[in-house]
């Protein structure tokens, strides 16, 4: 048992450093590609030109500044947020299937946002994010509330089922609101996970919160590692588990709430990324969390580039792309981790 636990605690700091440094470089390059690709293809030289000498008179420059750049920034922010939220949840709940989509957080956010659309039209974006956060908290509270009623908590499988039930309830309510108030297809597109309409306003409001909560997640990453060893060991190592869990949960809710308010309830990013990262860098969350942020940003950026290229001029919602990649991945994880489910 001892040796098994020790051997499980493999970390690969070198690999992690490579991911962090190369990842940032790759992100910058990919961002340029992301700005260039779309319904109107723009060559990289023009992108560079638009960045350095913005000329309002040129349509391409306008497209780049008003549409493409905020969109690419949103991709990266959302990807990092969902991925880190997933990594923290998987670590602290020791549940390999944890993801803000699967556990009802995204559906909660979406529900609150549809409530805002219906009852408080013209709400400023700041407040929308606040409601989105409250919604994530609602979904989370429902799922983990049920879990806390059970001695020893729900098994990963049952937690996923609870998440599915809560999500279907909240989604039914959102759909009801959308249909009743005849909120047009735009809301549907937003629900489907679109980054198409992201504005500078959204980016400006979201980024300080995002950077703040990502930093908080990195600062708390040691606690996640300790919690991932199990509560008994964590207490033995002098960790105040309740406090750590509360702070971490708050970080997860903020991250999920932010991300959903930008692109809608996109699932599976938070499931896939931490698994990939753990496979590459080992089990220490001090490496997993920052690497998840980078890999999540990259993956979402590519998914969005793909979404624009699959069948132009239509946009494919990124939630669809992630669900289609994520489902086989989910099944694979469920098979692999069968012993612990």
């Amino acid at each position: 048992m001892k040796t098994k636990e020790l051997s499980q605690l493999k970390t690969r700091p070198v690999m992690a450093t490579v991911i962090l440094t190369a990842g940032v470089g790759l992100l910058i390059i990919s961002a340029f590609v992301g700005i260039a690709v779309g319904a109107a293809d723009i060559d990289l030289a023009t992108v560079w030109d638009a960045l350095l000498h913005y000329n309002k008179a040129l349509t391409t420059h306008q497209i780049i500044w008003e549409l493409r750049i905020p969109r690419v920034l949103a991709d990266m922010m959302v990807g990092a947020a969902f991925a880190v939220a997933g990594a923290v949840m998987q670590g602290m709940t020791r549940n390999p299937l944890a993801d803000s989509g699967l556990l009802g957080l995204n559906a909660g956010s979406a529900f609150m946002i549809s409530v805002c659309f219906a009852f408080l039209p013209g709400l400023s974006y700041n407040y929308l994010i606040l409601f989105s956060f409250l919604g994530a908290a609602l979904g989370c509270f429902m799922v983990f509330g049920v879990s806390s009623l059970v001695r020893g908590g729900l098994s990963p499988t049952r937690l996923v089922l609870a998440g599915a039930a809560v999500a279907s309830l909240l989604t039914a309510l959102s759909e009801g609101i959308a249909i009743y108030f005849k909120l047009s297809q735009d809301l549907a597109f937003w629900f489907a996970g679109g980054v198409a309409g992201v504005t500078w306003t959204q980016v400006a409001v979201v980024w300080p919160w995002l950077i703040g909560s990502l930093l908080a997640a990195v600062l708390m990453s040691k606690s996640v590692t300790i919690l991932s060893l199990g509560d008994d060991i964590a207490v033995g190592l002098g960790q105040n588990t309740t406090r750590a869990k509360l702070i971490l949960m708050l970080i997860v809710l903020i991250l999920a709430g932010l991300a959903v308010s930008v692109v809608g309830p996109v699932g599976f990013i938070g499931l896939i990324v931490p698994h990939l990262v753990r496979y590459m860098v080992g089990v220490d969350y001090r490496w997993i969390i920052p690497c998840s942020a980078i890999v999540g940003a990259l993956l979402t950026l590519y998914a969005d580039i793909g979404a624009r290229m699959v069948n132009p001029p239509y946009e494919t919602p990124i939630s669809v792309i992630f669900a289609l990649i994520g489902v086989p991945f989910f099944l694979y994880v469920a098979r692999k981790e069968r012993r612990s489910l």
Partner: protein, 340 residues
């Protein structure tokens, strides 16, 4: 079998319960005919039902309300029986056509159909259950295949997990479709997904009826097999039941039931889960009783949900599917917390 007094008591209890449920169903049926945007007094409702009503009452009742109520009763019963069979076959009390992705599979097929033949008027409604069944059976076999292991047969836990996952993938494809629709068709499809019993015309009743009759009969003949499967595969095999073959037959019956219902009513979850659970609590676990009582309870649940949905925000409506989710999700969570 019917020797001891306790057994006689149990038997009597079951009969009482059946009678009470049937009476409940009849009274809600009458209330539901009476309830709605245009009030029709109770006396007139009864008169109309016996063909003595005024022309206007007859129109409202026979063309709008009755078919809708009949559909709700049929769909509720069908989904509940489907759930009871699925729970027995998978030996997992959390199985239900909604959770296993069968509803979504049927939904996707029907949606494809609606989007490629926008004016549903010139395509026979009779095809709807068949289309739904095609999508559902494909989905069911994918889920079944993914949760089957050569060494251990069908794994109950993996079945639900796979169902949830496949369901999500199918839902993603549905999303893709909805976004491409023009607004008019979109509204139709959105309402269908949310479980609006929109198909309230006699056409749909007749499209659904043969499916329910045939499949219900098959299910009724299989009650013994369902009981035996409950003992586990080894015991069942020992008793001379070809477990794998029977499971596949029963799965097809359950899938076909759910698909036919869903293709008429849209996405209605949880009925297939709750119906059998309540039935087992009332009459024990023998399927000879569980199936009919499940059907009664499912019919009751959906009729109540649809009636509530019609009354709560007049003159508009809330769809039955949404009402069912609001009632059903908490119950499901309660079951999750309670089950070992």
């Amino acid at each position: 079998m019917m020797g001891t007094t306790t057994e006689r008591k149990v038997m009597r209890r079951r009969i009482y319960i059946s009678i009470i449920l049937a009476l409940l169903l009849v009274s809600i049926f009458i209330f539901s005919v009476n309830a709605g945007y245009s009030k029709i007094p109770f006396v007139d409702v009864v008169k109309t039902l016996f063909g003595q009503g005024s022309a206007q009452d007859t129109l409202i009742i026979s063309q709008f309300r009755l078919p809708r109520i009949v559909i709700a009763v049929m769909v509720g019963a069908g989904l509940a029986v489907s759930g009871a069979i699925l729970q027995a076959v998978s030996q997992n009390s959390l199985a239900d056509p909604g959770i296993l992705g069968i509803n979504n599979g049927a939904g996707l097929a029907v949606m494809l159909y609606i989007s490629y033949f926008p004016s549903t008027l010139d395509v026979p409604v009779m095809f709807m259950p068949l289309i739904g069944f095609t999508g559902a059976i494909l989905t069911a076999f994918i889920v079944y295949g993914l949760s089957y292991s050569r060494k251990e047969g069908l794994l109950p836990n993996r079945l639900v997990l796979t169902g949830v996952a496949v369901s999500a993938a199918v839902a993603a494809l549905m999303t893709l479709l909805t976004i491409r629709l023009d607004p008019e068709n979109y509204q139709v499809v959105a309402e269908w997904i949310a479980g609006n019993i929109w198909a309230s015309s006699w056409q749909y009743v007749f499209a659904l009826l043969p499916w329910l009759v045939v499949l219900g009969t098959v299910a009724a003949f299989k009650v013994k097999t369902l009981d035996i499967l409950g003992f586990g595969d080894q015991v069942a095999t020992g008793l001379g039941v070809k477990t794998e073959k029977e499971k596949v037959i029963l799965l097809v019956v359950a899938v076909a039931l759910a698909a036919a219902c869903v293709s008429v009513s849209g996405g209605i979850a949880f009925i297939g889960l709750i119906g059998p659970h309540i039935a087992r609590r009332l009459v024990g676990s023998g399927h000879r009783w569980v199936l009919p009582i499940s059907a009664l309870i499912g019919a009751l649940l959906l009729l109540v949900a649809d009636t509530i949905g019609r009354l709560i925000v007049q003159p508009s409506e809330i769809f039955a599917g949404i009402v069912v989710a609001v009632i059903g999700a908490p119950y499901f969570l309660y079951l999750l917390a309670k089950a070992k």
